[in-house]
């Protein structure tokens, strides 16, 4: 089985064995394939690209070819133990609605996204006066699929305003791994919540559930 991208491994680590998992924007079904094989989950993906769907089928990952909204309206409240939205939040038209829906059909939700508040983005904008171009935001402003970029703090605000409880927040490094090295780990562990992470983490994973923040 091919190795998972590190952020996907972090997400996979949050999922309990044998649970029911929906992955929104599941791409080629790598994460679900891993979860089905290793953690015996019952998985279901939603993917808009034909090529992604084809690979999911080959992997034996059940998948719905279509947009995220339609994928969710097919399901009962609490039909899944986890609903995952990994690196897709920034590309969807109605992020707030989608998160509401995720928390309706899932008991828990896992959301990961690139952090626009990372210092490199701030520096790029401040000094070059141009939109950042880096591994987290690799697209030029005019051809990017990202339409709703946000910072870690923006996302926390959104959760608060929606009465969503943040169970866990995990800042990740450039390559999607947890920050390594003593200082960085210290920063990640001690200075979360999370002004520091907002500055230092290029990416973050949130584990959410319904209820008070």
């Amino acid at each position: 089985m091919p190795e998972l991208r590190v952020d996907l491994e972090v997400i996979a680590g949050l999922v309990a064995e044998g649970s029911r998992v929906m992955d929104l924007g599941c791409g080629d079904g790598m994460l679900l394939g891993h979860l089905i094989g290793k953690k015996k989950v019952r998985g279901f993906g939603v993917e808009i690209s034909l090529e992604g769907v084809r690979v999911c089928i080959e992997r034996g990952v059940p998948v719905y070819h279509g947009d995220i909204d339609q994928g969710l309206s097919d399901h009962h409240d609490n039909a899944f133990d986890y609903v995952i939205l990994s690196h897709t939040l920034q590309t969807i038209t109605k992020p707030r609605f989608v998160i509401e829906e995720m928390l309706r059909v899932g008991k828990k939700s896992i959301v990961s996204f690139p952090n626009f508040g990372h210092w490199r983005n701030r520096l790029a904008l401040t000094f070059s006066g141009r939109m950042p171009l880096n591994p987290q935001f690799p697209f030029e402003w005019h051809n990017t699929p990202n339409i709703h970029v946000c910072t870690i703090m923006d996302f926390q605000d959104l959760c608060r305003s929606m009465n969503v409880r943040i169970i866990q927040q995990i800042p990740l490094g450039w390559t999607g791994n947890r920050p390594h090295g003593k200082v960085k780990r210290l920063l990640a562990n001690l200075l979360v919540p999370m002004a520091a992470a907002n500055l230092l983490a290029p990416m973050a994973v949130f584990l959410l559930e319904k209820g008070e923040p």
Binding site: L50, V53, R54, C56, I57, P62, Y64, H65
Partner: protein, 390 residues
């Protein structure tokens, strides 16, 4: 090189026949009537493996028959109806799978139907043939699969009405179907679908030669049947596809006739489709089978749906084509929603094609890849399970 010797062809095949049920032990039908014996026409391709775990049943649509792949004679101009998909190296790979195709109950290509001889009278049944349902067709197929000694089908696959039968299999025989592939289909006909079928039946029954269905010895209701087919044929293609193929091109003429002859190429194409259909199809079969489709409704309300789906273990692959308007994408999604709602394992894919409803019969790379991927995975998992058990 003949068609039969081309790589990927199953070659020359012969339709086979078997009698199931007897007068004493007849096939019980949903309408309360019984039939026996029942003649079944079928073809098979590939080899059944030792533990009979590689059997795949292919279900044909309204006007299809048991001849799904290969050629009957070397000089056949057309191979079986799904020849692009069945054969060595094709999605339904005959080097791996044992493919079975039967003609449906009520058909006119070798399985007992209204044109068959009624043993009571020694004459064709005509409209004395009992009303049949898709459930009855499935029950007959099940008896046939039992006859072959196969306990569990790796997959039941079909397009259009064949997809409805594939669904019915998963519902009626939940322990005996590992997967169900449903293409360009629907869990129930809409009022518009029923309306098209109703007009087709009216065209047949109002033909002066219809004679209450007793037309096997005299002139047949050819105009009515051709008309029914022409109308249906329009619904099988897309507006875009038709326009691209024919546009407003005139047929065999330079100028408009200013009369009611076939001016346009599309008119003569439809006439050809109608008249060639009449040569191979029975008008009464058309009546019975369209009615059976109209009646089909396995999920009339949420309680029945939940009850019917509870024991179902098959995984589903539901596919559709974006220009299909006979059973458009929303009809497939309707089925997917019902399956999701009841927590069944389902994969849904919408493919792009200019060919409308007929796309499910035509060669298309992405469609092939998905089917092949699904089947390959299925076989791998079955094999792996066997290894685990061993």
């Amino acid at each position: 090189m003949t068609l039969a010797s081309q790589p990927g062809s199953v070659g020359i095949v012969t339709t086979q026949y078997v009698d199931l049920f007897t007068r004493e032990k007849p096939l019980a039908l949903d309408c309360g009537a019984t039939l026996g014996p029942v003649h079944v026409a079928y073809e098979t391709y590939g080899q059944l493996n030792a533990d009979a775990s590689n059997a795949v049943l292919i279900c044909h649509a309204l006007s299809g028959n048991a001849h799904a792949a290969g050629l009957h004679r070397l000089d056949d101009k057309h191979p079986g109806w799904w020849d692009d998909y069945i054969g060595p190296g094709k999605p339904f790979d005959t080097q791996k799978f044992y493919i079975i195709s039967t003609n449906n109950l009520g058909g006119c290509n070798g399985t007992t139907g209204p044109s068959s001889i009624d043993p009571e009278t020694g004459k064709p049944f005509g409209l004395r043939f009992p009303m049949i349902t898709l459930g009855d067709m499935t029950r007959l197929q099940k008896a046939f699969i039992d006859h072959l000694g196969i306990k569990k089908l790796l997959s039941v696959a079909g397009g259009s009405m064949g997809g409805m039968i594939a669904l019915q299999w998963a519902l009626d025989y939940p322990d005996q179907v590992a997967s169900s592939i449903i293409i360009g289909s629907t869990p129930r006909l809409s009022a518009q679908n029923i309306a098209f079928n109703a007009v087709a039946r009216q065209a047949i029954m109002s033909d002066p030669h219809f004679n209450h269905g007793d037309h096997y010895e005299g002139p047949r209701p050819e105009n009515g049947l051709a008309l029914a087919r022409m109308m249906a044929h329009i619904t099988y293609l897309s507006e875009k596809g038709l326009h691209e193929k024919f546009g407003r091109r005139l047929q065999n003429r330079e100028n408009l006739s200013y009369g009611f002859e076939n001016d346009f190429a599309v008119e003569s194409y439809l006439s050809y489709q109608g008249s060639s259909f009449v040569r191979r199809f029975d008008a009464n079969t058309y009546l019975y089978i369209t009615k059976a489709m109209d009646y089909y409704d396995p999920f009339p309300d949420p309680e029945t749906t939940a009850k019917r789906l509870k024991p179902v273990t098959a995984r589903f692959l539901v596919m559709c084509f974006d220009t299909d308007w006979r059973f458009d994408t929303s009809r497939s999604k309707e089925l997917v929603k019902i399956l999701n709602w009841n927590r069944k394992e389902v994969t849904f894919q919408e493919l792009s094609s200019p060919h409308g409803h007929d796309a499910f019969l035509l060669d298309a790379p992405q469609y092939k890849e998905s089917l092949a991927g699904f089947l390959r995975r299925l076989l791998e998992e079955t094999t792996r399970q066997e290894i685990n058990v061993a």
